[in-house]
């Protein structure tokens, strides 16, 4: 999890000069409320006890409200000051290139320290927690707006003289404490400051709040930083922690399927190429979970043609088959009310909620769902012969609207609430006759036909078309909007196909559709490409 790297002091091409007595400098980059101030205070406390003049400053202000901020500490040995009969003059802000220790409470903050020039290879010990607190930009993206953690780690490793990394947030959490304690432990382990471990622990004790937990987190942080392997600055790749890499990159073990899917799974293994097995097995399980085994067979039937066309026109890695398999499974297992109810009532879901909510054995848990079924959702799961007239009847529509306007909160841990959801989940059996099922199958077939047809002519474009259902997500209005975007791109397709860069165009349209909620970016891209 944690690694420590040391690089030789780089020769920056300057003549050596006698090292004058100077302050030791420490910058702590944190977000408001993370305890950066507590860490700075501990350092000051240790320093003052161990014969140092210490000064800390910060500019908390509104950054206290979750913003990024820097706490800055300077230390100066008291003995030479006393000998000189003078007080050292300590600075109130870090100077780029003149920082001995940088502590970043989060990975992007480590990147910020590097960006600000605070981390330099001749001097800086960088201690960074590799966990992520996602920025607003990352969190509000319609698709995946996360920045590349590996790039941040590589940048930090390249910039620092010594780089100590670890998930110090998790370490703190495991010991019921906060990150300032585990980072303090890591700092003590680096030996970058002239204080022993015992002195640091004494400072925590003097702090007087949550001492035992803090000491435990301190010890764990110390161990993580001290026992980690060493690598040189030239091999940053060796240290990228797997946990921060996107899950999709790691080769996942083949998904398990149950006994009733054995023949379907065997068919996957016998008649589909191995590179497609992880996705196809997951897909088979997903659609069978959603409906039944017959649905799984249908899933593979649909993919037969894609496999054939991929074999004929593809490059041999069956990317088209895989991506079509991915989005076909997700599309076939569309989220209607009975699917949602089905997922909410499962025992493993109850167990997950218990665990996420940290419910102890002696505690009682109540789970409440925030549902908002409207006329669409209700008629979706009814047989088409009932649903269609209901949907068209004005007074029924408005009556249902009135009843469902405020949404409903269902307590799944009550017998009544559970049975309500159980009954809705049971409608799965009639799903094949439902209004939405017919709709979805029609659209799925149209999309599949397009993918296979295009593949014969333009394989990359077919792959781009196969990935387009990524635009359709969510429920209610969000879902409708995604569907509209998807359809707009599909409508544009005939005019784009003539272009040599048609695949790039479709990807651009898809990215535009995922760039904002309003659809403005998509509209603009469509105007530009299709007009």
């Amino acid at each position: 999890m944690s690694a420590r790297m040391e690089a030789p002091v780089s020769d920056v091409g300057t003549a050596p000069r006698p090292a004058p007595l100077r302050a030791t400098t420490v910058a702590i980059l944190a977000m408001g409320g993370e305890g950066g101030g507590v860490l700075a205070d501990w350092i000051v406390d240790v320093a003052e006890r161990d014969g140092y003049v210490a000064q800390t400053t910060s500019v908390p202000g509104v950054a206290q409200r979750t913003g990024a901020t820097i706490y800055y500490v300077e230390l100066f040995p008291e003995a030479p000051a006393r000998a000189a009969g003078k007080e050292p003059v300590l600075a109130l802000m870090p100077v780029p290139g003149e920082v001995d220790v940088v502590i970043a409470s989060e990975l992007m903050e480590a990147g910020r320290a590097v960006q600000r020039g605070l981390v330099t290879s001749d001097r800086t010990t960088l201690i960074a927690s590799t966990h992520r607190v996602y920025s607003m930009t990352e969190r509000t993206a319609v698709a995946d707006g996360r920045v590349d953690a590996a790039a941040l780690i590589a940048g930090a490793a390249a910039a620092a003289r010594t780089f100590v990394q670890g998930d110090f947030a998790r370490i703190a959490e495991e010991h019921g404490s906060v990150i300032s304690a585990s980072l303090f432990g890591a700092l003590a382990a680096t030996g970058a400051l002239p204080f022993g471990r015992a002195s640091c622990e004494d400072a925590i004790r003097r702090g007087g709040v949550g001492i035992d937990a803090s000491l435990a987190a301190f010890a764990a942080g110390y161990a993580a930083a001290a026992h980690a392997g060493r690598a040189t600055r030239d091999e940053p790749a060796a240290t990228a922690p797997a946990a921060t890499a996107p899950a999709t990159i790691a080769p996942a073990p083949l998904p398990r399927v149950g006994p009733r899917l054995r023949s379907v799974a065997a068919r996957v293994e016998q008649s589909f190429p191995p590179t497609s097995h992880p996705i196809l097995l997951a897909g088979v399980a997903r659609v069978a979970d959603h409906q039944d085994e017959r649905y799984a067979v249908q899933y593979l039937d649909r993919l037969e043609r894609v496999r054939e066309v991929d074999r004929q026109t593809g490059t041999g890695d069956f990317a088209l088959l895989r991506e079509t398999g991915r989005y076909l499974a997700l599309w076939m297992a569309y989220e209607d009310a009975s699917r949602v109810a089905d997922l909410k009532i499962r025992s493993d879901r109850f167990a997950r909620v218990r665990q996420e909510s940290r419910v102890g054995d002696s505690q009682v848990l109540r789970i409440s769902e925030f549902l908002h079924p409207g006329i669409e959702e209700l008629t979706d799961i009814l047989p088409a012969s009932i649903g269609r007239p209901l949907r068209r009847t004005g007074w029924i529509r408005s009556a249902v609207d009135r009843l469902t306007r405020r949404g409903t909160i269902v307590t799944t841990t009550s017998v009544g609430g559970f049975l309500q959801l159980y009954a809705i989940a049971a409608l799965r059996r009639w799903r094949r006759h439902s209004l939405r099922f017919a709709d979805e199958q029609r659209q799925i077939d149209a999309w599949l036909a397009l993918v296979t047809e295009v593949a014969g002519q333009d394989y990359p474009l077919a792959l781009a078309v196969a990935e387009c259902p990524r635009m359709v997500k969510g429920y209610g209005e969000t879902h409708h909007r995604g569907r509209r975007h998807f359809e707009a791109v599909m409508r544009a397709l005939p005019r784009l196909r003539a272009r040599a860069d048609a695949a790039a165009c479709v990807r651009r349209l898809r990215d535009a559709a995922l760039a904002d909620e309003s659809g403005d970016a998509l509209a603009a891209a469509l105007r530009e490409l299709v007009a």
């Binding site: 500019v59 202000g61 600075a91 020039g117 899917l261 997903r286 025992s347 209610g476």
Partner: protein, 723 residues
């Protein structure tokens, strides 16, 4: 009640002669006030001087012992007017606020105070919020000192210097009958340092003496003809007296005066940065022994001509290190040297930035350019500090240096805290805008101003504290039925918004809408009490409803929402206010306690109850990852720090799913939004009951037993497909 207890800091205020005070700069100022025999202290909280107020409000015992009156002023104008007590009586008084915003508000009273002058020492402690991390317009307080002829102290940013500035500031004020401003930069306020304390002093002349033996002097009142005399007095009497006092008491400092035939003139507050720059350039040691003469202006207004000419005489050039603009000191130096017939060249903004914070990088490069011109031999080019070293071309391309990280490092501005009650107001407003289209929104000052940033992106202007509704005053016409919406916090409301905004809207027959965010504190400044605070406070009058005040000035249409997290209600009331045919100003009071303060209050209580074996129910929200499709609309309508993303556990899905992390305080917004905005069914609320009663436990077990029967049927089916 402030958001944290300052009991520990209060003990520092009791230190006696010879004991060592260790702590923050602003607390050192507080201690210095008591050592100076102050009779009264007032102010308005705000970074970076909030702690002065917070510590004093926790220090009632000490204040009572010393006979010091302490007020949380209604505004900076109130605080400044409070100094009127020092006009006729030998009472030392201090007021404090954030600058320049607070000084702007206070300037009417300050100008009147400065005109008539003072008998007792009057100290105005202004905390500068300039540069990195600042939340206000970037201006200087210097101009206020100049325009009203108040003396401006800008001491070196170490505790002994700051404490001395307080003590000498009172003496200077009394010697010159002039209020004195003490300017402290944000880092100086928050710097941890030490100084040797003195005993606190109980004033000999008391407030009681003043009240019982009132004194008046018509020549001190700003009315003609006295006002004309005041102006003359400032120039003829007070100014020379100030210069004499500054010289005699050596308030300004000179270091290494004859070391070179050039030197640096700097604001006291820039001293540490300047010395560090000199140190990095090999021109000073760590103790500040400089190879370049330094003239440190601990008093930046007025300048003392004889000191200036003495320092500049025989010098070819001087560098002025003066942060911010306009370059008042530099211009003044030019005039002084010209008048004195000195040929010394003045440098300043020619080698230093005209605008912006004087970071160590900026100062180092300015000092380097200056010294390079006058004594290039002093600079060891081979040993330049990195911050002024030209970039090495060879390595720049190879490594993923700082520039390579730009795409991966996002700005991280402050935003609403986890569970903040202000967030749902803007969520509801977003939903209303989906129906009614965008509205002109006029913002105020306070936490709610975070609405202008993602994910809400709401708000067009902010004109100052309490001026939210005033900022929309012109946009009031019968030519349209569309209304404007203004936002105001409870802090701004009591500061002046009741008159400048609400009274103004009533009087001018506004047809527009105001939302007052009533969270029981001035939350943005650290959670201080105000008249509408919901908690009892033995020293202040609280629990005064904002709705009553609003009705009191004539608003007829008033709605109070007592739980902002109730999104449907919040949305419906906003819609009603924006669309009702009823004419006249409309005010919505949106109430819920500041979550930061609430958690600080409630968390320990709940923990204690749980330990004591009492039934305690805790709520948190969660997201089911298998129903979440990863479109993140919930986050775009919230932005709550505890509502974030994580990799989807589903191998088929590429986009991260939403997730609620442990910091969730169970405010309920996620669920409300998912319902009100018809987003998705993925949110659940987990209510966890600690120490449930016996009946509750049995009932829960029974329920689960029934549920298990059905769950086993589901499990059997799934075992067939999932294995």
């Amino acid at each position: 009640m402030a958001e944290r207890s300052f009991a520990r800091e209060v003990q520092q205020l009791r230190l006696g002669r010879g004991e060592v005070f260790r702590g923050e700069g602003i607390l050192a100022v507080t201690k210095a006030l008591l050592q100076s025999g102050v009779s009264y202290v007032a102010g308005y909280q705000g970074a970076p001087i909030s702690h002065l107020m917070d510590v004093l409000s926790d220090a009632n015992d000490i204040l009572d012992e010393l006979g010091v009156h302490f007020e949380h002023s209604a505004s900076e104008a109130t605080a400044a007017a409070t100094l009127a007590a020092s006009v006729n009586y030998p009472l030392r008084g201090a007021v404090t606020f954030k600058s320049t915003v607070g000084t702007n508000v206070a300037s009417d009273a300050l100008a009147n105070l400065a005109s008539g002058g003072v008998t007792g020492g009057a100290l105005i402690i202004v905390g500068e919020d300039y540069g990195d991390g600042s939340s206000i317009m970037q201006e200087r307080s210097h101009a206020f000192a100049m325009k009203s002829q108040m003396w401006l102290l800008d001491p070196r940013p170490n505790l002994p210097s700051v404490v001395r500035a307080v003590e000498e500031g009172f003496a200077l004020s009394e010697a010159t009958h002039t209020p004195v401003m003490l300017e402290l930069r944000i880092r100086a306020c928050h710097v941890h340092g030490r100084f040797v304390a003195k005993d606190n002093v109980r004033p000999t002349f008391t407030l009681k003496d003043a009240i019982e033996k009132p004194v008046r002097d018509v020549s001190r009142i700003v009315l003609p003809p006295a006002s004309f005399l005041h102006e003359q007095e400032k120039i003829r009497t007070r100014w020379p007296a100030a210069q004499q006092f500054i010289r005699e008491h050596r308030l300004n400092e000179v270091f290494a005066e004859r070391a070179r035939d050039f030197g640096i003139i700097l604001q006291g507050g820039m001293y540490n940065t300047t010395v560090r720059s000199l140190e990095l350039l090999g021109l000073a040691d760590a103790f500040g022994s400089s190879a370049v003469p330094l003239y440190v202006l601990n008093v930046t207004y007025p300048l003392v001509e004889p000191e200036v000419t003495a320092f500049c005489a025989g010098k070819r050039g001087v560098l002025v290190i003066e942060e911010g603009q306009p370059d008042f000191i530099e211009q003044n130096l030019h005039a002084i040297l010209r008048r004195a017939g000195l040929a010394t060249t003045v440098h300043g903004k020619d080698v230093l930035p005209m605008a912006g914070e004087y970071t160590a990088a900026a100062v180092t490069s300015g000092v380097l350019a200056f010294v390079d011109r006058y004594a290039p031999e002093l600079i060891d080019r081979a040993a330049l500090p990195r911050v002024v070293r030209p970039p090495a071309p060879s390595t720049a391309a190879a490594a993923p240096g700082p520039a390579g990280l730009d795409a991966h490092v996002h700005a991280r501005p402050p935003s609403f805290c986890t569970g903040c009650p202000e967030r749902p107001i803007f969520t509801a407003l977003k939903l209303v805008e989906r129906e009614l289209g965008p509205h002109h929104v006029s913002c105020d000052i306070g936490c709610h101003l975070f609405s202008i940033l993602p994910p809400f992106n709401i708000g067009a202007t902010t004109m100052g504290y309490g001026l939210g509704w005033a900022g929309a005053a012109a946009l009031n016409t019968s030519a349209t039925r569309k209304r404007t919406l203004s936002i105001m916090g409870d802090g701004g409301f009591w500061h002046n918004g009741l008159t400048s905004g609400v009274g103004n809207a009533v009087f001018n027959q506004s047809d527009n809408v105001l939302v007052v965010v009533d969270n029981s504190y001035t939350a943005a400044t650290g959670g201080q009490d105000i008249p509408s605070s919901s908690a009892p406070n033995p020293r202040r009058t609280t629990k005064l409803p904002i709705a009553d005040a609003v009705r009191g000035v004539g608003v007829k249409w008033v709605r109070t929402i007592t739980r902002t997290y109730d999104i449907p209600r919040m949305r419906d009331v906003l819609r009603e206010a924006l669309t009702t045919p009823e004419k006249g100003p409309k005010v919505i009071v949106a109430q819920s306690e500041c979550m930061l303060n609430k958690q600080r209050r409630v968390k320990p209580q709940l923990a204690q109850l749980t330990r004591a074996g009492r039934r305690v129910e805790r709520e948190r929200f969660g997201v089911d990852p298998d129903t979440c499709t990863g479109d993140h609309s919930c986050i775009r309508l919230s932005g709550c720090p505890s509502l974030t993303i994580r990799s989807s556990p589903d191998p088929l899905r590429l986009d991260p799913v939403a997730t609620v992390i442990d910091s969730c305080v169970g405010c309920g917004l996620c669920g409300e939004v998912a319902q009100a905005a018809v987003l998705c069914p993925s949110f659940y609320r987990a209510s966890v009951v600690s120490n449930p009663g016996a009946w509750e436990r049995v009932l829960s077990r029974l329920r689960l037993a029934v549920i298990r029967v059905f769950q086993r049927r589901v499990d059997r089916r799934l075992a067939g497909v999932l294995g």
